[in-house]
Symmetry: C2
Subunit: 490 residues, 2 copies
Amino acid sequence: MSANPVIFNNTVLRDGHQSLAATRMTTEQMLPALELLDNIGFGCLETWGGATIDAGLRFLKEFPFDRLDAIRAKTKSKHMMLLRGQNIVQYAHFPDDIVNAFITTTANHGMDIFRIFDALNDPRNMGTAIKAAKAAGKEAQGVICYTSSPVHNTESFIKLGQDLEDLGCGSLCLKDMAGLVPPRQAYDIIKGLKDSVKIPIVLHTHETAGIGATTYYAGIEAGVDSIDTSIIPFANGTGQPDTARMLALLENHPRAPKYDLDALQALREHFTKVYEELSDYTSFANERVDADALKYQVPGGMLSNFRNQLKEQGMEDKFEDVFKEIPVVRKALGWIPLVTPTSQIVGVQAMLNVKFGRWKNFSPQATDIALGYYGRTPAPVDTEVQRIAATKSGKDPITCRPADLKDPGMDALRAALAAKDYPTNDEHCVIQAMFPQELEVYYKSKDAPAAPKPTKTAPTDRESIDLGSGPRHYGINLDGKRYAVTVDES
Amino acid sequence: MSANPVIFNNTVLRDGHQSLAATRMTTEQMLPALELLDNIGFGCLETWGGATIDAGLRFLKEFPFDRLDAIRAKTKSKHMMLLRGQNIVQYAHFPDDIVNAFITTTANHGMDIFRIFDALNDPRNMGTAIKAAKAAGKEAQGVICYTSSPVHNTESFIKLGQDLEDLGCGSLCLKDMAGLVPPRQAYDIIKGLKDSVKIPIVLHTHETAGIGATTYYAGIEAGVDSIDTSIIPFANGTGQPDTARMLALLENHPRAPKYDLDALQALREHFTKVYEELSDYTSFANERVDADALKYQVPGGMLSNFRNQLKEQGMEDKFEDVFKEIPVVRKALGWIPLVTPTSQIVGVQAMLNVKFGRWKNFSPQATDIALGYYGRTPAPVDTEVQRIAATKSGKDPITCRPADLKDPGMDALRAALAAKDYPTNDEHCVIQAMFPQELEVYYKSKDAPAAPKPTKTAPTDRESIDLGSGPRHYGINLDGKRYAVTVDES
């Protein structure tokens, strides 16, 4: 064992299946793997958060805290969850009291590390969550979302890391959700962070473009404390690099860690069976996205889902146009990173721009970004685009922290649950806040017979977007995540 | 452009389809790509040698020098070929005059760089070829075959590089045919070579185990002069990393080169069509070999082909036993690397040891290795195994350069060709030396109607090995390469 081995965190129970199987792994499919996962000695297990709460409730009819409890009970390893800052695990901002309640109750269920990001890299959107995690005696991990733009550079990422340390984070994560950080730049960012902050640093990437494992190697050379790996077949491709592969890659390296290869092989065998059980959901994610991800500089998941969306719209021939429009939208909206929910918002706005003409149809979400309601954008929003957004929406631009405009919400949630005769504890309040319809369907389905198995041809979470005339309201799923959009030709 | 950019060599016309499509790309399929390949500015194009001469003649009915001429005529880039030292492009040693004739005539056809390796890393088996290439005014590139064993280490590889420079090589290649060199060790070897030799160094690997691209990255950091890349879909997996991928991986790196991405995309589109045309041959090579390659530490091609061989033998249940026997055979035979032809010889001997008991059946090739007829093994051959080999074969061990025992052969070859009324130039003599039967079939087929397309179920170069009783003689193809073996229970 080396003196300063790099630590591996394992993502198979969250990002692994979110990236490669539309977030469809069930708690039951996870349970047989827990003893092995728990005893290998991973730095932490990513077990919750991201899309798992939404997908689990919506498609698997699992109450989210039940999964956390079931996994927690069988593991002594640290648990980690991905949290979208003030969005919690949804796509819009919530009042501070709901964010606080979510974190406190999740901490009480045994969550150890809250990995907190904001799609705009606006620390103000992470502050409440950071403070709540610390107040609960847990680790707040501040996230730097990597993206490439004229206003993002190595220095700006390092500066954000320093700001997050100042906010009280116990660790940092450089999150490369698109798998596009060049290894050399990963080296420079990690080295710069190691030289300027005192807290441990995690590097997170995806193998989408075929450079993720090398990014890890470069990050390890720069002194990163830990990296995220997964287990084949929920690894590599659009997911994290495989654990055994990373071990081979680090042979002879002074920072090579030791993890039990036989246990990893047994895990691979288990998850291979699970992968086969999830074959209805694995085909889309497994498309070859390497070169396209490089060409369009967007996350792989966004790319393959978007291709399907355009096909459903009969807009396949506009694929190139829509993807060329993405940097135009990004620039107008202040070079926001592409990560949930901005990847979806930018993607839809690019599609609307191509379909109806540039900024003729402004989605409510893109409008809110342009007017500051998602937070401070990395660069100023284009003034003309902001003017159009304000005129069309009748809303004024803001510069304050968006959640400052939100009134406390827990009392109303509790009352709404009580009115339906549902449990009114904090667990239910925070789920009610984010997924009220899904929670209702969940309760109704509990006594109903099991739902029929979805067909192979179309995952049930992809719905068609009709871009015809008139103001219309849609539930759209991109990247496996749902949000509401209104389309209005006026 | 950086000051000292790493140079990319392109392998799509040789190793790309040898690794991923059973060496079945035809000259006709190559021609439309040549203008693009030629103008991108690759360090060299690997266009010939390895298995292409055998496979082209045998399966595609192409006279090897015709392909070389056709490609040469349309390109100004440097051409490179892979040569198995004293084996030329076959599996046994040839007399010096045939090696000389092969290299001189190939040089006359426009070959620029002869990449020369020996499966045992015995420089004596490379000397004649190195001298012949230099005498023809061409570049002799000396190869260090990477392997992992108790007697191979960073220092021994560097020492071999120094010996090859002393022999007159104009450049060196660290050849990692199994894709198993840990990036850190690649760094150390390249760094050590750069510090101790004056000639340029090439790094060659495969993505088989998922660590090849990182190995390149580490080699580039250590100062390697050039790397071998290919074009998707004849890239990654068991082939070389893709060119566009490596460019993305080197973004921001001080040694990043510049190659035209649009041209690379156009090449990808061309070769995607070719890949589809070769679908009869691509399925075997595309098996997932990553974890198995890591587990068994053998080249990926050997692994997947061998699995099929064992299946044909009804020995599937012995797969683990046979692969556990490989290091036993390697150790007994002085820790020889696994590369053509030793990968096949060790594989078959492991199979014979499992089937009949250890060393009960000694293949003629393994016998010859044990007795020194392939050259000096990295470590001494096990004395008891050598004794068995000598007793069974009635041959004495040797310590001289094997080719010293070979009488000149060109005159006899010319006479044999004349007797058949075939052309008697050096081109035909050297092909007659290596592939006499195939040459005859080639001439007979020239006037015959086109051969029917092979079926999808079984590539025609895989034949069954019957391990039943009695001495029997077989033509065996492993790793897409053919050699003769006699099986004898006595």
